[in-house]
Amino acid sequence: MIELSVASLTLWTGALLTGLALVRLLTVEDLIARLIALNLTGGGTLLILVGLAARTEPVDPVPQALALTGIVITVAFTGVGLILVRAVDDDERPSRSADGRAHGHDEEANA
């Protein structure tokens, strides 16, 4: 097996996760899928954060405390995002066609 420290593995995993999720975040149209991508980007970023700081024995408590903070902040943003998804749904419902098919809704998202 290649010489790979736990810190490097964590960094690489975090970087790949961030990259994959970031691209999806910027391209996907469905709002819920976008928020999920946002969460995965957050997970990747926190792996990077802890992976970067993981060089001491015993574990440095500061970066772990930072990661905890990051997790809480991510859930706050996700929650507000989902509240807004519902508001968008309420906002745009009358414009939907009467047969209940939901076109003209998700594909409006851009950027």
Binding site: L38, A53, L66, V80, V85, A87
Partner: protein, 478 residues
């Protein structure tokens, strides 16, 4: 004395708690009182820094690198003062009528949380703490945008994504700085960070903050968010919230990251493109609030245009003073413009430029405020906008940066172009243009007339105090 600094962050939070606990009818009065007290604390911070120099408070009694410090130098104090002035004026405007704050409750607590987030960023001396304060600012600003009318939730959601991506880039940058320097304190990190370790976090942080400040080409989220907000939210978004992320990258640039000419040049060129492209887009708009929103993209360009000049040895103090003057001028003038636009929109039911023809006849005070604001935004002599551009120009001429001179002149012409059209419509006498009737404007509460005038007058009048501003911003460094 230094205990003022946490108070400046926490008093707005207490106000937000009070507003949240009260029914909507009682929120304006508690918000107004809390805003008044917070503005007084902000003023006290500015006075204290002016008279005593740099203030520093160690939170929980732990000194950096283990604990978190709050620090106010001249640069921070200038932005603290701007927040007090614009924040309080906007709260007065918001208290004038419920319609200014959108169709839902929430403006008052969210506005005060935004205030708190801004203070947290301006006073932060710790990298991670600055990130947390930035998140307070981002989330409360998203909430305020969402209070607008139809389409606002979608604009807010888009802004939320932008805000989170920007912060994640910043967080990665902070992780890299911590890995390289073993500290989160900005000053200590700045002393320990080498050019070799510094470039990657700088690129990440600059990208993140550029995104949050709507630097071209990452600007598309701004117009729907700023123009679609309720009348009392747009001035806060444009004058203050955008400054939060800009301040942070400026602060990191000056205190933490080693000099990097390549990044400075990229930021400067993007700023130049923003000045011109934002101006062209503003010219193409037909609605007042969208003109003002696109103008923000152009004005943000001026802020980033400063980076190549900030790097020049010997010119840094002058350029810091210049970029602070630019940020203050934009903050005051843009708040005047957005409050005026909001008042006109509430009065006429439209912000279409053609629908505002002749409004100056009944709304003379308000129009005067808009004219003063335009004087500063364009950069006509004696205004703060003028002195800011003049300081840029001096450094650019001394160092032979002709492209910056060219951008400054073009930007001035464009600003004159996009601002004169709505002003001309307001002042125009409808009799000579029979095809468009005179705007029907309902009577505006006094606050909606006088707040734009007061802000506009400050944007122009502050130009007389440039030397004081330069003296203030030089406190603590340089």
């Amino acid at each position: 004395m230094s205990a003022l600094l946490p108070a400046a962050v926490l008093l707005p939070v207490i106000t937000a708690l009070a507003c949240l606990a009260l029914p909507r009818r009682a929120q304006p009065i508690s918000g107004f009182l809390g805003g008044l007290a917070s503005a007084a604390v902000n003023a006290a911070v500015v006075v204290a820094v002016t008279s005593h120099g740099v203030l520093e408070h160690h939170m929980a009694g732990w000194a950096p690198p283990l604990g978190i410090a709050l620090r106010a130098d001249g640069l921070a104090a200038a932005f603290v003062g701007l927040t007090g002035a614009v924040g309080f004026a906007t709260l007065v405007f918001a208290a004038s009528a419920e319609a200014t704050t959108g169709r839902r409750t929430g403006f008052w607590p969210l506005a005060m949380l935004t205030w708190s987030g801004l203070m947290g960023i301006f006073l932060a001396a710790d990298l991670f703490n600055a990130y947390v304060a930035l998140e307070v600012l981002g989330l409360s600003a998203v909430g305020m945008v969402a209070l607008g009318g139809r389409g606002a939730p979608r604009a807010a959601l888009r802004y939320l994504i932008v805000a989170v991506v920007g912060s994640m880039l910043l967080l990665t940058a902070i992780g890299l700085v911590y890995a390289a320097t073993s500290t989160l304190d900005m000053d200590l990190a700045g002393q320990r960070l080498t050019a070799e370790d510094g470039w990657l976090p700088l690129v990440l942080a600059a990208t993140g903050m550029g995104l949050k400040t709507a630097l071209v080409p990452m600007h598309a989220w701004l117009p729907p968010a700023h123009a679609g907000s309720p009348p009392a939210v747009s001035p806060l978004m444009s004058a203050l919230v955008v400054k939060g992320s800009f301040y942070l990258i400026l602060r990191l640039w000056l205190d933490v990251f080693p000099r990097n000419d390549a990044v400075a040049l990229v930021l400067g060129v993007l700023g130049a493109v923003a000045v011109i492209w934002g101006g062209v887009l503003a010219l193409a708009q037909r609605r007042l609030k969208r003109i003002v929103a696109y103008s923000t993209i152009s004005q943000v360009g001026y802020l980033f245009l400063a980076f190549p000049l900030l790097n020049l040895p010997g010119h840094q103090p002058a350029m810091v003073s210049a970029v602070v003057a630019m940020a203050l001028a934009h903050g005051l003038a843009k708040a005047a413009m957005f409050t005026a636009a909001g008042a006109l929109m509430l009065g006429t039911g439209t912000d279409h430029v053609d629908g505002l023809v002749g409004a100056a006849r009944s709304e003379g005070v308000l129009t005067a405020g808009m004219i003063l604001s335009a004087v500063s935004l364009i950069g006509l002599p004696m205004s703060l906008g003028f002195t800011a551009k003049w300081q840029y120009l001096e450094v650019a001429l001394q160092t032979g940066a002709w492209w910056i001179v060219l951008v400054l002149l073009t930007g001035t012409l464009l600003a004159a172009g996009y601002l004169l059209r709505p002003l001309a419509a307001l002042i125009r006498d409808s009799d000579t243009h029979e095809e468009v009737g005179q705007a029907e404007i309902g009577p505006r509460p006094a606050a909606q007339r006088w707040v734009p005038l007061a802000l506009g007058a400050m944007a122009v009048g502050a130009g007389l105090f440039t030397t004081d501003l330069t003296a203030l911003t030089s406190i603590g460094w340089g």
